[in-house]
């Protein structure tokens, strides 16, 4: 019996299949690994995420929980079976509603929705939620998914072919990479693997802080047939230190004698796939010696606790600082002051795609194909660790199933790279959910305190902010968080006297890195919660108080930067009628005097786009082939947010060419110039600006060749460009032109680097060239006997400068709000305790209320067509607006997020005791 394989006959998508499999092999693995149906995705292998949902005999199930032995004679349907040549109405609807962003959860959602629609062609919203509640999506905020399922016939986006020439910007074409996301044909990190690839298992530390000795690995290899080799730090040919900010690079790809956090990689075991799958890593020869550890900044800074890194005294990685005026005097002289403190938790990115990819040698070049947000940074870090020149490492980004900041840092790249380099064979890793959660970065837990003062007229006069950010065992983006927070902690409000200090403190916790907002979401909770208390003390309306203090054109920031194109006041003004309506409704509801209390809350955001006070260039290349194809080298990695579409829209209008003639070439580092990392809400602004410059430059070279003026029109016919100006019509036959080395008859490559300056010792300077702004209004109910919260509606007004693609903007807003809901109400990563998606909770389709988006367009002089970034902005106001609404509803003052029912009820009781 043991090890016996079963010969199975069943049906997939109407076709008979046969497979010889282990009886307990998961259906997900049978489909993906044995039969090649890779549209079924694996997110957790535990039934927690629903990404692998398929239909078995018409019932939706998680394929990761179905044993192969159950399949005999059954009918299985996967995403590949939904389209028969043309897309199903539901798939079309997903495209036209913008219901797929990164696309990793899309197959599971489509399958679940198909099961519903086949029984119930016109479901209610509640029925859609109940049917789709088992599939997690981390990008979209679910609202467009609900719309897509309920309204298969109402279209929002249009075919790119129907977008008018010169009218791509401001239109909402169907995302250019959308079709493969709804058919399941998108190739994510785990979806490509050379047949001869070795599998790689990573030995990780089970301890927070320990030294270790690796035993006899030769004997270990010999005792395990199919295991090819073990690699340790001693095998690393280059400098065993990686890190996203080169001066702070401190993380070994494989630890050397000491580990500083639980989950840190110490060794690799490479072998044939079946051997690695059968391997029990508990047998790996390693001896651990635990060391004292610290999981909080307070513990890490206590007397006698050693420094985790040489030269970082008292475990302080960095400190960011901004000061203007005399904040102590301003607070002393203020008419009213408020002070408070807030603590936040580790937050896990919880993208549905765990890290995955492979490496292979092509000649003397190491090629790595993996999911990523930053191909050039991956290339440089991997090359450094492996002792290769950067041009001998080629990064080919596969589709990224969500990133949100964590896939900026390398994870498996140096590991598979090392194995491929050493063995000469391709090497692949697919992280388990547990590996992903244990070993990759998190949002920084923050412990913040602040004091804010205002004068009798309700003008904010001064603020002092201090925040300790738990940056974990290694630097990652800790310095960025420490520097970004002091610049932003005032919120988008005039604060003439100000001091803000942000410290990044090392602990033995998970590495804290980049997560949508780089610390600003945490700091904004502190500031916006205090603003509500300040308004109350002043007897002012909370919205009016914010409008009066909002930055306007010509104001100076706390860094001394004079702003223009400031849209925060417009955002807040746009919420006025909603605020009045919601306030009246809450008052009427609460007059009933029940256990359920209604509250409303508001909060703002501002956010500088791109690196803080550092160079941050992007380069975009565009070329026309003799065939007439326009090739856009689009290196701004699309992790679901839509840069593939937005950058193309900008380039099309700048070039004066129709969007439909563009073909995208992705971020392959040998084919496409560096468009920087997908982070800091910089791609629409910076890469977009480079695309605008490249498009214009391409257009100019064509017009010069045709000897016409800038007002001429260009169109593309097969193999020719037609240039028209008044009566003049020129036909440029492209085959008659000499192509350049890249095969282009016309081409342009342009770089844009936003104008910023370094900050001085008081944080004065121009940290960012462009800021975006926004404000959100939350309406909710608090159940005052259980401490639970029901969100009723969120109204979001965001100044995006110019909405290049309004549908994608809405998608970003709804998705950011969903993550803000998680931050506020449920997300708390407890190291060692919540390393799965059932103990770590992210919002489900039932947790995101209707969202109304109000787009404000105050153009920015720097941004392409006036556009500003928005990807991170949209998350920032949600959590503080929720906390303010909870306080309005119930009086509960939350000092630690997430505001779980337990904490809310405790805060309600504390208030009752204060009043008694």
């Amino acid at each position: 019996m043991s090890g016996a394989r079963l010969k199975l006959s069943f049906e997939v998508n109407g076709n008979p299949v046969e497979a010889e499999v282990a009886p307990l092999q998961r259906l997900s693995s049978v489909l993906r690994d044995e039969l090649g149906f890779k549209g079924t995705k694996v997110g957790c292998d535990a039934g927690d995420c629903g990404a692998c949902s398929v239909l078995v005999d018409g019932e939706v199930v998680c394929a990761c929980l179905v044993p192969a032995a159950n399949l005999s004679g059954r009918r299985v349907r996967t995403v590949e079976g939904l389209s028969k040549g043309s897309l199903s109405a539901l798939q079309e609807s997903f495209l036209r509603h913008g219901a797929a962003q990164c696309g990793i959860c899309t197959p599971g959602l489509l399958i679940s929705a198909t099961a519903l629609l086949e029984r119930n062609p016109a479901p209610s919203e509640q029925e859609v939620r109940d049917a789709l509640g088992g599939v997690l999506c981390r990008c979209t905020g679910y609202r467009k998914i609900i719309d897509a399922v309920m309204n298969a016939n109402r279209s929002v986006a249009v075919d790119a072919a129907l977008v008018g020439q010169g009218a791509a910007v401001g239109a909402s074409p169907i995302r250019l990479d959308g079709r493969r996301k709804v058919t399941g044909s998108e190739v994510f990190g785990a979806d490509e693997r050379p047949a001869e690839a070795l599998s790689v298992a990573v030995v990780r530390s089970p301890h927070w802080h320990a030294t270790f000795e690796i035993g006899d690995t030769q004997t270990f290899v010999a005792a395990h047939p199919g295991i090819v080799a073990v690699f340790t730090a001693a095998d690393i040919p280059g400098e065993n230190r990686f890190g996203v900010i080169p001066p702070f690079a401190d993380q070994p790809a494989l630890a050397e004698e000491r580990v500083r956090f639980r989950g840190e990689a110490v060794a690799l075991v490479a072998g044939e796939r079946t051997a690695i799958e059968a391997l029990d890593l508990a047998e790996f020869p390693i001896a651990w010696h635990e060391l004292p550890h610290a999981l909080t900044p307070a513990e890490a800074r206590r007397d006698g606790f050693p420094d985790l890194h040489e030269g970082r005294a008292n475990n302080q990685l960095t400190r960011g600082f901004v000061e203007c005026g005399d904040p102590e005097a301003a607070i002393r002289d203020a008419h009213v002051t408020v002070a408070g403190d807030i603590e936040t938790s580790y937050v896990e990115h919880a993208y549905i795609e765990p890290e995955a990819g492979f490496a292979a040698m092509e000649g003397d070049t190491l090629v790595i194909k993996a999911c990523t947000q930053a191909p050039y940074m991956d290339r440089d870090d991997t090359a450094k660790v492996l002792g290769l020149p950067p041009d001998k490492v080629r990064i080919v980004p596969l589709a990224t199933g969500g990133g949100f900041g964590s896939k900026l840092d390398v994870s498996l790249q140096p590991l598979v790279g090392l194995v491929a380099l050493k063995t000469g064979r391709p090497a692949a890793i697919v992280y388990t959910r547990g590996d992903s959660m244990r070993s990759t970065t998190k949002r920084h837990p923050a412990a913040m305190r602040a004091t804010i003062g205002a004068d009798a007229d309700g003008r904010v006069t001064g603020m002092v902010f201090e925040g300790d950010f738990n940056t974990g065992a290694y630097a990652s983006w800790g310095p960025t968080v420490a520097n970004r927070v002091p610049v932003h902690a005032s919120g988008p409000y005039r604060t003439p006297h100000y001091r803000a200090t942000g410290r990044a403190i090392h602990t033995n916790g998970p590495v804290s890195g980049a997560f949508r907002g780089f610390g600003v979401p945490q700091a904004t909770i502190m500031q916006e919660v205090l603003y509500d208390r300040l308004a109350e003390k002043l007897g002012r309306d909370r919205l009016a108080f914010r409008i009066d203090n909002a930055l306007v054109d010509g104001d100076r920031t706390t860094c001394g930067q004079v702003l223009s194109g400031v849209g925060i006041r417009q955002c807040l003004e746009a919420l006025r009628p909603h605020w009045a309506r919601a306030g009246a409704e809450a008052e009427a509801f609460n007059a009933r005097d029940g256990k359920i209390r209604r509250g409303i809350g508001i909060a703002s955001c501002w956010y500088g786009c791109g690196n803080t006070a550092l160079p941050n260039p992007s380069t975009i290349r565009v070329g026309i082939r003799a065939s007439g194809k326009v090739m856009l080298h689009q290196g701004a990695v699309d992790i679901g947010q839509g840069s593939n579409t937005v950058i193309a829209q900008i380039c099309a209008d700048a070039a004066g060419l129709p969007l439909s003639v563009f073909t995208l070439i992705g971020g392959d580092t040998t084919l496409t110039p560096d468009a920087g990392k997908t982070s800091a809400s910089r791609q629409t602004f910076i890469s977009g600006k480079a695309a605008q410059k490249a498009g214009r430059s391409l257009r100019e070279s064509i017009l010069r060749f045709a000897n016409v003026s800038a007002t001429a029109d260009i169109s593309v016919e097969s193999g020719a460009l037609i240039v028209r100006e008044g009566e003049v019509r020129r036909r440029i036959v492209l085959a008659e032109l000499e192509p350049d080395a890249r095969g282009y008859v016309f081409s342009a490559e342009e770089t844009y680097d936003p104008p910023t300056t370094a900050l001085d010792e008081k944080g004065q300077g121009t940290p960012y060239a462009v800021y975006g702004y926004g404000a959100q209004l939350v309406e909710l109910e608090v159940d005052t006997t259980l401490g639970t919260v029901r969100l009723l509606r969120i109204t979001a007004a965001h100044d995006v400068g110019r909405a290049i693609n309004p549908l994608l903007v809405e998608g970003q807003i709804e998705g950011g709000i969903a993550q803000g809901i998680g931050l506020a109400l449920m997300e708390e990563y407890v190291p060692g305790r919540t390393e799965n998606l059932h103990d770590y909770l992210i919002p489900t389709i039932g947790d995101v209320p209707p969202i109304e988006t109000i787009l404000i367009e105050v153009p920015d002089a720097e941004g392409p067509f006036g556009a500003k970034g928005l990807g991170e902005h949209v998350l920032i106001p949600t959590a503080p607006a929720i906390l303010n609404a909870i306080r309005h509803a119930s009086g509960a003052e939350i000092t630690r997020v997430p505001a779980t029912p337990s904490r809310i009820l405790e805060a309600i009781r504390a208030r009752e005791e204060r009043r008694a």
């Binding site: 016996a4 088992g134 259980l786 029901r790």
Partner: protein
């Protein structure tokens, strides 16, 4: 590892005598428990035992076969006393989990947060255990002994859950408290069943889960409710001390919170079945 997929119950029971097996039914607890390592256990796959599937009726009992999924419970017409079990079924994980996970597996997994336990306790359910020696029936409270601990002997298999028809009486309600809407492990849950006669409580069965290592029947509270005016039960619940509960602090909530919330959700479960419910606002 060994793997067996018998098609006859006798064969399965015979195998169980030979060594210690891990029994696989719906797989919704089996696979998540595997972790990343290779499977080492010997697995007895009972998915070939068609006789264990579905819900049946005998003279004295309603029988839920060991392979009956949550979705089958939801779809099967049952008396109103089972409404609480159906409501719990709809709250187990997601539709995907309900379609494969079994009610019996939920009991065998013996999680303190098992959604099936409170309603089955309140139905006076018994667990049918079969072995080659014969069959025995244990009251559910004697079957689940602790966190991840049951009274099943290694050579036994749960073949059914049975509910005495005498207990399949009255109306019932279930309330689950979680920190999100779907796919959520309960912070606390309550199941209540009342038999009313002329506006008075003739019979009461109340159970609370996730507030002790094993979900508990609140028999002292039931005693107080019995004979009470159905319109005046809330003060009785308010006055009750809930001595059966021994909640702990964990990431989902504090012990003090669970103690307070348990009272509230018992009230809501009772109010719900009495039709006075204001049931909104539960999921955060």
């Amino acid at each position: 590892m060994d793997y067996a997929r018998p098609t006859e119950l006798e064969e399965a029971l015979g195998l169980l005598c030979s060594k210690r097996w891990t029994i696989l039914a719906g797989g919704t607890d089996f696979y998540p428990a595997l972790g990343a390592g290779p499977l080492k256990d010997d697995v007895l796959d009972i998915n070939g035992l068609s006789m264990l599937e579905g819900i049946a009726e005998t003279d004295a009992h309603i029988l839920i076969g060991a392979r009956t999924s949550w979705s089958t419970v939801i779809r099967t017409p049952l008396p109103p006393a089972f409404d609480m079990l159906k409501e719990a079924a709809r709250e187990v994980g997601s539709v995907q989990i309900q379609n494969t996970g079994t009610v019996a597996g939920n009991l065998c997994n013996a999680s303190p947060a098992a959604d099936g336990v409170p309603p089955l306790l309140a139905l006076d359910a018994e667990v049918e255990l079969a072995s080659s020696d014969g069959r025995r029936h244990l009251p559910l409270a004697s079957f689940v002994l602790g966190n991840r601990k049951t009274a099943r002997e290694p050579h036994e298999m749960v073949t059914a859950i049975r509910v005495p028809k005498t207990s399949a009486a009255g109306r019932s309600g279930f309330v689950k408290l979680g920190a999100r809407r779907y796919l959520v492990i309960s912070i606390a849950m309550a199941a209540a069943r009342l038999v009313l006669e002329g506006g008075r409580v003739a019979e009461a069965a109340i159970a609370v889960g996730s507030c002790s290592a094993v979900a508990q029947r609140l028999s002292a509270l039931e005693d107080r409710l019995r004979g009470g005016d159905a319109a005046a039960l809330m003060p009785l619940i308010d006055a009750y001390g809930f001595p059966e509960l021994t909640p702990i602090d964990d990431v989902r909530g504090s012990a003090a919170y669970r103690r307070e919330a348990a009272r509230e959700i018992v009230k809501r479960a009772v109010a719900g079945l009495l039709g006075e419910a204001e049931r909104g606002g539960l999921a955060a």
